[in-house]
């Protein structure tokens, strides 16, 4: 099985383990690695170079603290990803993290493109969230007063194929 792991650009990655050793193929080039626990961290040796890394996995995001800073990498299965494509415009997403101040639509409502769906507050500024296209509201994941992260869907529309 190969996965795509991206720091900035996707790399095709394969892995074969033997105990604490593993071969990692990155874009077809093999690297010999070895890992050892080091406190809560991992001592990772790759091609003879040793680094202490701290790693946390949150679904398909892997956070790594190494070289004195934190990095985030995305891990995707290219097959699943291709199935998920084309869904981008089905929801109005949060441009920045914040709190939902008001909602002007509910499940089942018909909306027109550009219609204001909700108002969010972030950094003491209010921003209107508008419909990306015309459609019918399938669901509203957050309630007024709740907070959300950047990119979170605020209003989800019934997908065009389903309509």
């Amino acid at each position: 099985m190969s996965l795509q792991i991206s720091l900035t650009e996707p790399r095709e990655v394969r892995l074969a383990r033997t105990g604490d050793r593993a071969t990692v193929w990155i874009d077809g080039v093999a690297f010999e690695t070895r890992t050892r626990p080091d406190g809560g961290a991992t001592e990772l040796t790759i091609d003879g170079r040793r680094e202490k890394v701290w790693v946390v996995v949150d679904r398909d995001t892997v956070f790594v603290h190494a070289f004195g800073r934190a990095w985030a990498l995305d891990v995707v299965n290219p097959v699943e990803e291709s199935l998920r494509e084309g869904q981008g415009a089905d929801s109005a997403t949060a441009p920045m993290p914040g709190v939902l101040v008001s909602l002007s639509v509910a499940e089942g409502d018909e909306v027109t493109e550009g219609q204001t769906l909700a108002v969010i507050e972030s950094m003491k500024m209010q921003t209107e969230i508008k419909a990306p296209r015309a459609g019918v509201v399938e669901r509203v994941p957050s309630a007024v007063g709740e907070s959300f992260g950047q990119g979170a869907p605020l209003v989800v529309l019934v997908s065009e194929e389903a309509e």
Partner: protein
């Protein structure tokens, strides 16, 4: 008078934890207050007892003076420490606390009120002999007056909302056209943000340093200063790196600024800890900005170079005791630099980040102080200010302090959301910071500090391998059987 037996801390996060540390050292029991979202937070765990507050939002709970006074009465707390933010600079809260027979650990309400208004505080500063920036004496009545005053003072000018703070309602104008626009926008913003549209203007200092003087005063007539802090590294008009002493301030200048700050504190009948903030031009002329009538976020750097526990002094003063030291006993030795760790993306306009703190590791050791209020597993939400911790490096020289702080920041592991630790380390490692060439436009002048770091091929390889080795996606139990890829993987 004697110290109280029990003190309620009307705050949350790192500052509540820090205040409780001093309470413990003084043998005083502590009471925490919390909103339900903070029920399992560190400040609640560190307290001897805790009282839940309710509110329409989490912030509203911590701003509810009535519930907090009731909590004092219910728990038998004899005094309340407000920390900073929330109710710390609300004179009405100090009065409500006193009316319930509880001691407010802070200055008298009149001093809070006088210093809380930018125009009134500036008037008092003039009387006390503290230099102020040439500016309009009263709020500007209209655009025409704004233009006349700007002409009189000379461009560039800074327009400020009287009730403002934290950079809101502030605009720089370098020409009459800019002044007209700035006046209109600042007035509108001031009405929207503070319900008070008064705007005034003053001369704008280019490449200014932010210098502030820590003062301490007791009710026996002693007013002293603990020297200055420099807080010139700011983003969105908020401080991110603060240090004591300032690499720019000479002992003579320190004496001069300190005397001015003490004189102002005397003028308003000040007691407890307070900070006189000044803007300093490149020639070393300091001009009064405002006085903060509370404990300051960056107080640790002063504590480290003077050896004074500012919170302990506040508690003693509130109990009617004398300050533990006189001006002659104040010694400033070494250097301390604090960096504010925020959940935010420094490479995207410092937009706040939210999310879980899945892995939390703070450094410790000689020359490092970390004040924080988080536990592993905590969630950073949009409900509160996104400051996670304050990491401080200190040592005999400024170079030592920089080195320790940069190492401490590089060793601060906070995974699960975005934080600014690497940005802060990049700032303090910058040659211009090391040279002490700091001013409030530092970050604008060094845009490379806020551009994303590009990993070289070798770094990327390590990160990809680390991600691959830890991703459960590669765990065999979740594999879809695929004979060909298996064969491929095991090929030598």
């Amino acid at each position: 008078m004697s110290l109280p037996g029990k003190v309620l801390v009307a705050n949350r996060g790192e500052i509540a934890v820090r205040i409780m540390r001093t309470l413990r050292e003084l043998g005083i029991r502590s009471v925490a207050v919390y909103h339900a979202v903070d029920a399992r937070s560190r400040h609640v765990r560190d307290a001897d007892e805790a009282v839940e507050l309710t509110g329409s939002t989490p912030v509203a709970a911590y701003l509810d003076a009535e519930q907090i006074v009731a909590a004092c009465v219910a728990t038998g707390a004899e005094a309340v420490h407000p920390g900073f933010g929330f109710l710390s600079e609300r004179a009405a809260f100090a009065e409500a606390v006193a009316a319930a027979g509880v001691t407010f650990i802070g200055p008298p309400p009149d001093a809070i009120r006088a210093m809380g208004d930018k125009i009134e505080s500036k008037r008092l500063a003039v009387i006390a002999g503290v230099p102020t920036l040439p500016g309009s004496e009263d709020a500007l009545s209209d655009t025409a007056e704004a233009l006349r005053e700007a002409e009189r003072i000379g461009y560039p000018v800074l327009l400020k909302a009287s009730a403002g703070g934290g950079g809101k309602g502030m605009r720089i104008a370098r020409s009459p056209e800019e002044c007209r626009e700035a006046f209109e926008r600042s007035s509108a913003e001031a009405v929207a943000s503070f319900g008070d549209g008064r705007v005034f203007l003053e001369r704008y200092v280019d490449r200014p340093r932010h210098i502030e003087i820590q003062v301490l005063a007791d009710s026996h007539g002693t007013v002293i200063h603990l020297g200055e802090r420099e807080c010139s590294i700011q983003r969105r008009y908020q401080k991110v790196v603060e240090e004591a002493p300032s690499p720019f301030v000479t002992p003579e200048l320190r004496e001069e600024l300190g005397a001015a700050a003490v004189s102002l504190a005397r003028k308003v009948g000040y007691t407890s800890a307070g900070t006189v903030e000044m803007v300093m031009d490149p020639d070393g002329n300091g001009f009064f900005l405002e006085m903060n009538t509370r404990l300051q976020v960056e107080h640790p750097v002063t504590e480290l170079v003077t050896g004074v526990d500012i919170v302990a002094e506040q508690i003693r003063v509130a109990a009617g005791e004398k300050l533990s030291l006189t001006q002659d006993e104040v010694r400033i030795s070494g250097s301390a630099i604090e960096a504010r760790v925020y959940a935010e993306d420094a490479t995207a306009g410092f937009v706040p980040a939210i999310g879980p703190l899945r892995l939390v590791r703070f450094p410790s050791g000689p020359g490092i102080r970390v004040d924080h209020g988080v536990l592993q597993g905590d969630e950073v939400t949009a409900s509160f200010d996104p400051m996670i911790a304050k990491v401080v490096g200190f040592g005999p020289t400024r170079t030592d302090a920089i080195e320790r702080l940069s190492t401490a920041l590089r060793d601060t592991v906070l995974l699960g959301t975005t934080t600014n630790t690497a940005f802060l380390a990049d700032v303090v490692e910058h040659p211009d910071f090391a040279a002490g060439d700091t001013h409030t436009g530092f970050l604008d002048e060094h845009p490379a500090l806020t551009t994303p770091t590009v990993a070289d091929a070798e770094t990327e390889r390590v990160l990809i391998a680390a991600a691959a080795l830890h991703s459960p996606r590669f765990d065999r139990r979740f594999d879809v059987p695929d004979a060909h890829s298996r064969v491929g993987e095991w090929r030598p």
